[in-house]
Amino acid sequence: MRTAVVVFPGTNCEKDVVHALTSLGGEAELVWHRETDLSRFDGVILPGGFAHGDYLRTGAIARFSPVMAEVGRMAAAGAPVLGICNGFQVLCEAEMLPGALIANRDLAFICRFVDVEVTDTSTILTRNATLGQRLRLPLNSYQGNWVDPGSDARVTLTYLDNPNGSQGSAAAVSNAAGNVVGVMPHPERASEELLGSGDGLVLLEGFLQSLVPA
């Protein structure tokens, strides 16, 4: 079971994600965005950061990286694909997830713990969580404000106290099949009590357990 952790120019959370996954016994490998063959992997994570400096629109340029065709193929094949923060933005731009992310309501970067509630347990991220379960996760974004006019999207996590204006207080959304998920707060930053919370573990465990041999 191997997970590809994609590195775009400007990505910066990739090592944190690998650390959190391996601390849970998972196998993860960094993959440069020019990679064109992910057949040796069973799942993909697009980590947080500032791919291409967030220029133009967050995720807009990364979406065209060579690796994204493979990510699309794996998603279509039902493999677990998780976008965290900037990765969420990339998946929206790539139209693998509904909607788009715009600047926070108060037009300021927000880095702090927020409380979210699990609203859908049939996704690769939340399969181990219980409906209504509350998690304390670090948010770290300027463009965390999810919008999707007339949306019928599946919302996976919602903020208890909407910090950025996100539509329906959505903190995470998934595709119809539930195998592609974008999450704005960082589960890997809540992977140790020592760092202030271990609440991200139930999510990352869910991801790892969703991996099936390709």
Partner: protein
């Protein structure tokens, strides 16, 4: 040729920048502003001399990259 693309935010999409500017203007005493919307203009220098061709190519770029259909509309102007 110089081409300018105005990327306008769809009316139904929130505009945090616009609202923030409106609040700031009010703080400065400009209370009679009814609406503020911030859009982006991208200026390109494109090789070529046939305006229609150039326009068509830039519109293609907009669909591909420059605009996000969920959020934005675009208007291309070729200023020859």
């Amino acid at each position: 040729m110089r081409v300018s693309v105005e990327i306008t935010r769809r009316p139904e999409i929130a505009d945090p920048e616009g609202t923030t500017i409106m609040r700031a203007l009010a703080d400065l005493g400009h209370r009679d502003i009814e609406a503020v919307r911030v859009d982006r203009v991208i200026h390109l220098d494109v090789a070529g001399d046939d305006p229609d061709q150039v326009r068509a190519r830039v519109e293609e770029m907009c669909r591909q990259l420059l605009a996000n259909p969920v959020l934005e509309d675009f208007r291309v102007e070729v200023d020859e």
